[in-house]
Symmetry: C2
Subunit: 404 residues, 2 copies
């Protein structure tokens, strides 16, 4: 494929018009939207309205002018992106905190089932939070197995299977339908972490029959650094599970100010403290960018972009650890190399931002809303050059930073 | 006291210059800064920089350019406002979530002590979260007594005394020094909720010998709606307590991506998920307003403003439920009246924003950074008129809204 071929693909791309909605620095090839999505232009105006009018001018009155419903309103905007009903999703707290809520609740469904089953090498916070959740339930434990052994490890003591749908390092994707079915046949619940899936690959929680899910909104959804996370509970579980973080915003009547806690009906019981309205405003603006965008078109383009980088990596002699079959992967590509950190730094120096994951993974995100075919081809050419001319071996690229 | 007396007090007020730092609507008398502080002008510029430059232009690189240290940097800026050392405070999550972390940890210090003791009528989320925390510890329970009975209820099964320093309804203030001492003599820990204290009354956690504290930053600190909360752990407890919400940001090496959780040393172990950077930027700007402001000057002015409203309430024949002795109260004044809700609405219609707390409390906040003596006197005159002319009895003022 030549540069002209990629230009032709861009000319025919129905998503090409989306690029203008994002404020990306000129000349930068940003392949890290799987870590922190870029700023939508609409967010700038939304933040100004939130800060200067809603907070600055309307002050406390804004709670009755849209703020108090933000967690459910934003949840309803995320629902179509994950195949959920609008009343099954709510926004608030972080992915870590939401994992704790749902894992703690799932451990209390059946006293005979006290095991959280998960994948070795899952995103660390998932396993760390699972450790915290089992520590709060007598007899509970965390069982971690290789991803190939998960189906066989669904023993009759498993309360909940916790899986990250798309792996943060390798981009390997679990078969959500098959594993949800296997989990249910084993009598357990499944909790899907959709942090690397939502806005990237098609997700249909309803079709899969999933029980619980959480996900991050600052990656492919572009909600801003540290944006509030979402939480999904299938309708059939909503009255049977309750949050251990029983804060006032989850109370059935938060403004009755009663001493005793009584959980709200529906998803509001998963709220804890006061919603973070500045962050909610940014996230809402970024979700509105997604309205009207066809998720399957996004995924088809992602697969095409992936192939461009896979070809470049192959030409450079890099080991690709992401599955070649699109059905088995997410929307980033990862190469294993002993100098992966230095390569990532050398790419940044040449205007290509990707990232590094310990110990040896170079990770490049493919985000169809603001990356074109030619962009990704250029990034691939730069990658080939960095490998070919061994410029990554320069000493300055070995200096580790606090956040890698 | 005449209007001229109040004008003279304003002319002599060293805090009068602070008013220009806040963006308050013209003509509005805002006596609800104890619920949601107003917008500092500096926050507007700080948010623009955060959104457009740090996020929009620097993107993921900003994590190494100040973001990752924001929780401890902001904690250090709150520390002088509560008499803490800079390494004893961290910012993140909500007050509710932080309460859960600290209560859960305190319940695990001594297996013979499994009771959370608190005040009946405490702010609801404190009691609600305490219910959630005891549910996760076998044999643990929540004991709630009248505020006058607290010292006597410090039995040898009490793990932690949870008190809100200044009461959200009545503004009654506990004697922090005496109750901390009594708690220690009884062998328990004390956790102070400073939500209605910080930025309002002088607090010295170090001098009191307090163990644990949390607090809200969107009231007197003006951090913005739903701003991240803070959490304090006295240095002597920092290595002995751990968070049940063991997320990756609390890990000793968050970017080593290891499966097993190991808590960070110091305060970082109380972090869970990714810091909410947009909200952190707003909060940091508001904390910088406090730099150089003498807390005792703020409190002296608050006491003077309080007297103005107390006099107006007395003239109007209202029952004041806030203690007359400044040492026993916070920085708001509350009147009990069966039509308190309607009175609050009638005041809003006349440009005075206070609020209502179920079932019969009219609450007016006294915030010396942006309220002058004449402002408060005018609010008092309007309160007197609303009571005298019974305009609050109009039907439109009885219509309850979602958030009261």
């Amino acid at each position: 494929m030549t540069r002209d071929d990629h230009r032709a693909a861009d000319a025919a791309d129905p998503l090409a018009i989306c690029r203008a909605q994002f404020a990306l620095p000129a000349g930068l090839l940003y392949l890290d939207g799987n870590s922190l999505g870029p700023l939508p232009h609409a967010t700038v105006a939304a933040m100004t309205d939130m800060v200067e009018r809603q907070w600055g001018q309307r002050l406390i009155r804004s709670w009755n002018e849209g703020w108090i419903d933000a967690p459910t309103r934003l949840g309803a905007k995320i629902a179509p992106l994950i195949g959920a009903h609008s009343h099954e999703v709510i926004v608030g707290d972080s992915t870590s905190v939401n994992l704790y809520k749902l894992l703690s609740a799932a451990l209390r469904v059946d006293p005979q089932r006290r095991v959280i089953l998960s994948e070795a090498g899952n995103f660390p916070t998932d396993l760390h939070v699972a450790e915290g959740a089992v520590a709060a339930v007598p007899g509970a434990s965390l069982r971690v197995v290789d991803r190939s052994a998960i189906a066989d490890a669904l023993a009759d003591d498993v309360a909940v299977l916790l899986l990250t749908h798309v792996h943060y390092k390798t981009a390997e994707r679990f078969d959500m339908v098959a594993l949800t079915r296997a989990t249910h046949e084993a009598g357990a619940l499944v909790l899907w972490d959709l942090s690397h899936s939502v806005g990237a690959v098609p997700v249909d929680l309803t079709a899969a029959g999933a029980d619980l899910a959480v996900g991050c909104t600052y990656k492919y959804l572009n909600g801003g650094p540290g944006a509030p996370a979402f939480l999904y509970v299938a309708e059939r579980w909503q009255d049977r599970l309750a949050s251990p973080l029983s804060g006032w915003m989850g109370h059935v009547e938060p403004f009755a100010f009663t001493d005793a806690y009584a959980p709200s009906r529906g998803m509001k019981r998963w709220l804890a403290g006061t919603p973070p309205m500045l962050a909610m405003a940014a996230l809402e603006a970024s979700l509105d960018v997604w309205a009207g965008i066809d998720r399957h078109t996004v995924w088809e383009k992602s697969a095409a972009l992936w192939t461009i980088l896979a070809d470049a990596g192959r030409a450079a002699g890099l080991e690709c650890v992401t599955p070649a079959d699109p059905a088995h992967r997410g929307s980033h590509i990862s190469f294993r190399h002993p100098a992966a950190y230095a390569i990532a730094q050398a790419l940044i120096a040449r205007g290509v931002i990707g990232d590094f994951r310990d110990p040896d993974i170079l990770r490049l995100g493919l985000t169809p809303l603001y990356l074109g075919h030619e962009d990704v081809w250029r990034a691939g050419e730069i990658l080939r050059n960095v490998i070919a001319d061994r410029s990554y071996t320069a000493p300055e690229y070995r200096q580790r930073q606090a956040v890698t």
